[in-house]
C-alpha cells in the first residue's frame, strides 16, 4: 500500500478523508442491454484506482454507477458502507470534455459546486481563485470556455471538481481528447495536485502507460457485451509497486496488462 493511502487510513476520522467505495455483485447496463455482470471491487480510502479496458468494456459505466448517475440492475454500490442512491458532492466527477457550462466564465464554473453547497460568496471567490491558480490558470478567470484550449478546459474541470472538497474524485478519461504533449503536462499536474489531497481517486483510461503512471492499483476490464452476448467483467486487479515514483521500469507489469486486454 502506498504511503499516501496508508497515511489516509490513519486519518479516517477527518471529514475530508478519502471515501471507501465497494461494489457488491453489481450488474450494469442501459435499457435491456447488459454491459457488465456481477462486479466485486473494494476501493480503499485514499487510493488511486485506475480502470483500464478497451472501448465498449464498460469502464465509464462503472464510473457512472459509482457517481450515482446510473442505478445498478443488480447488486449494490456502497460508499463508506452506505448504498449509493444518487449523485453526491462527496463524489465529484471529471468528464472527458465539454462538461464546463459554456455560459459561465472560468471563475463561475469553478465556484459552482461551492455555490450549490451554499458557501458564502466571499469564501467562494477565495477558494475558486486559489484552485484556478493551482491548476495554472491565474489570469484566465474571466474567460469563457470557448476561449480556452482543450487542455485549459480540462484544467478548469479539475479545479472545479476539487473546489468542492470531495472525498472521491471520479475521472472519466479526462485527458483522452488531448494531444500527447498536453496530456503529459496534465498528468504531471494531476500527480502534483493528488499529492496534497486525501481523496480517493477512480480514474478511467484506455492508455496503459497513463494507468501505470498514476495508479496504486490497476483494474483491467475484459471485453464487454455485444457479440456472442458475453458480458464484460473484471479481468484482473494488479497492484503497482512503488506507485507514482518516476524512473521505475514497469515493462513486466505493462506486458501483463496488455496481455489481459
Amino acid at each position: 500500500m502506498s504511503a499516501r493511502a496508508a497515511g489516509s487510513a490513519v486519518e479516517t476520522a477527518r471529514a475530508d478523508a478519502g471515501l471507501a467505495i465497494r461494489l457488491e455483485g453489481v450488474s450494469l447496463g442501459y435499457g435491456r442491454q447488459a454491459v457488465l455482470e456481477d462486479l466485486h471491487l473494494d476501493i480503499a480510502p485514499g487510493e488511486v484506482l485506475v480502470i483500464v479496458g478497451p472501448s465498449g468494456s464498460g469502464k465509464s459505466t462503472v464510473l457512472r454507477a459509482i457517481a450515482g448517475l446510473l442505478a445498478p440492475r443488480a447488486g449494490r454500490v456502497l460508499a463508506e458502507g452506505v448504498p449509493v442512491t444518487g449523485p453526491s458532492p462527496d463524489r465529484a466527477m471529471v468528464f472527458q470534455d465539454d462538461a464546463l457550462l459554456p455560459w459561465r466564465t472560468v471563475r463561475r464554473n469553478v465556484e459552482l459546486p461551492l455555490r450549490i453547497r451554499g458557501v458564502p460568496r466571499r469564501e467562494r471567490g477565495t477558494a475558486a481563485a486559489s484552485w484556478i491558480a493551482r491548476v495554472g490558470l491565474a489570469g484566465c478567470e474571466d474567460r469563457l470556455p470557448r476561449e480556452l484550449s482543450g487542455g485549459m478546459r480540462q484544467r478548469v474541470q479539475l479545479a472545479r471538481s476539487l473546489a468542492g472538497a470531495p472525498r472521491a474524485v471520479l475521472m472519466d478519461e479526462p485527458f483522452g481528447a488531448l494531444d500527447a504533449q498536453t496530456r503529459a503536462g496534465m498528468q504531471r499536474l494531476l500527480l502534483d495536485v493528488l499529492r496534497d489531497t486525501l481523496a480517493t481517486v477512480v480514474f478511467v483510461t484506455h492508455d496503459v502507460d497513463e494507468a501505470l503512471l498514476l495508479a496504486d492499483r490497476v483494474v483491467v476490464l475484459g471485453q464487454g457485451g455485444g457479440q456472442g452476448g458475453g458480458y464484460g467483467g473484471i479481468g484482473c486487479v494488479l497492484r503497482v509497486p512503488d506507485p507514482r515514483t518516476p524512473d521505475i521500469d514497469r515493462a513486466g507489469l505493462r506486458a501483463r496488462i496488455i496481455e489481459e486486454l
Binding site: 462538461a99 459546486p113 469563457l144 470557448r146
Partner: protein, 291 residues
C-alpha cells in the same frame, strides 16, 4: 433590412478575445467598407421612394393603377400633421401596451410550459393534448371567442396577442430543452445539485439560444395579430386608426398607419434580437460569422 443594420451596429463591440488584435489592425478598412455598405443600403431605399414618387405623380397605369395611390410627399405631409396631434401618440402607446402585455405573458407562460412538458413525461401527457388541438387555430380566428368571453375589448386584444406569441415560444422552448446535452446536467448533479439547481444553472441558460428563436417568431406573429384584432374590435391603437382611415377613404393616413406599424414592429423585433445576442455571447460563433 433589420438584420444587416444590427450587424453593423454591433460589429464595433463584438467581443472575441482571440481576434481582438486582428480587428484593431483592420479597423480602418472595416470602417471604410462599413460606410460603403451603408451608402448602398440608403441608396436602395432612396431609389424605391423615388420610383414610388414618380409612379404616383405621373399617374402611371401599367396594369396596376398607381394614379390613386398617395405619393410619398402626400404621405409625408399627412405624417407631419399626425405627429402634431395627441391622438397619434395615444394610439402608439395603446398598441405598445397591448403587445408588450400579451407578449410578456406569452413569454413567461410559453417558457414555463415548454420546460415542464419537456422535462416531465407526466405533465406532457396531461397538458399537451389540449395545447396541440388549439395550436393549429390561427390566433386571429379566436377573435369571436375573445369578444364573447372577455368582459372588455382590451382584455380580448391582449388575449389574442398572447395566443399568437405563446405557441412559437412554447414549441421552441420544448425543442431546445429536449436537445440539451445531458452532460451538463450530469455535471451539476455530481456536484450535489438538485432539480432547482439543474433548472436554474443548466436548463434555462442552455436553452436560451432556442428560446430566443421562439421569442423572435412570437414577436412577429404578435404584431400581425394585435393589429388585426385592433382592426376588428378596438377603439384605439394603430391598427384601429389605420382601418378607420380606410373606412373614410383617407389613403395617406392608411399609409402613415402602415409605416408606423412597420417601425414599431422593427424596433420591438430588433430589441429582442439585441437582447438575445447579449445573453448568448457564450455561443461559439466567430466575429465574422455573426448571422
Amino acid at each position: 433590412m433589420s438584420t444587416p443594420a444590427l450587424d453593423a451596429a454591433l460589429a464595433p463591440n463584438a467581443p472575441a478575445a482571440a481576434s481582438a488584435d486582428a480587428a484593431a489592425a483592420t479597423g480602418r478598412t472595416r470602417t471604410a467598407a462599413g460606410l460603403r455598405r451603408w451608402a448602398v443600403r440608403l441608396g436602395s431605399l432612396a431609389v424605391v421612394v423615388a420610383l414610388w414618387q414618380w409612379l404616383t405623380t405621373a399617374d402611371a397605369r401599367l396594369g396596376l393603377r398607381f394614379d390613386r395611390l398617395p405619393s410619398p410627399a402626400e404621405v409625408a405631409t399627412e405624417f407631419g400633421r399626425q405627429l402634431g396631434t395627441r391622438i397619434y401618440y395615444l394610439d402608439l402607446a395603446q398598441s405598445m401596451i397591448r403587445i408588450l402585455t400579451g407578449f410578456a405573458l406569452a413569454a413567461v407562460a410559453g417558457i414555463a410550459l415548454g420546460v415542464l412538458v419537456a422535462r416531465s413525461r407526466w405533465i406532457g401527457d396531461l397538458l399537451l393534448p389540449p395545447v396541440e388541438v388549439v395550436r393549429p387555430i390561427p390566433a386571429i380566428a379566436l377573435v369571436p371567442i375573445a369578444i364573447l368571453v372577455f368582459p372588455t375589448d382590451e382584455q380580448g386584444i391582449v388575449f389574442i396577442t398572447f395566443a399568437a406569441a405563446f405557441f412559437p415560444i412554447m414549441v421552441s422552448t420544448r425543442h431546445a430543452v429536449r436537445a440539451l446535452p445531458t452532460l451538463w446536467e450530469d455535471a451539476v448533479r455530481t456536484m450535489g445539485g438538485g432539480r432547482a439547481h439543474v433548472l436554474w444553472n443548466v436548463v434555462l441558460p442552455g436553452t436560451l439560444p432556442g428560446v430566443f428563436g421562439g421569442l423572435s417568431v412570437g414577436m412577429g406573429v404578435a404584431w400581425i395579430c394585435v393589429i388585426s384584432a385592433e382592426m376588428i374590435s378596438g377603439e384605439f391603437g394603430v391598427g384601429y386608426r389605420t382601418w378607420h382611415a380606410y373606412t373614410v377613404v383617407d389613403y395617406p393616413a392608411v399609409l402613415v398607419g402602415m409605416a408606423s406599424i412597420g417601425v414599431l414592429g422593427w424596433v420591438t423585433s430588433a430589441s429582442i434580437e439585441l437582447l438575445g445576442r447579449r445573453l448568448t455571447r457564450w455561443l461559439p460563433r466567430g466575429e465574422g460569422t455573426a448571422r
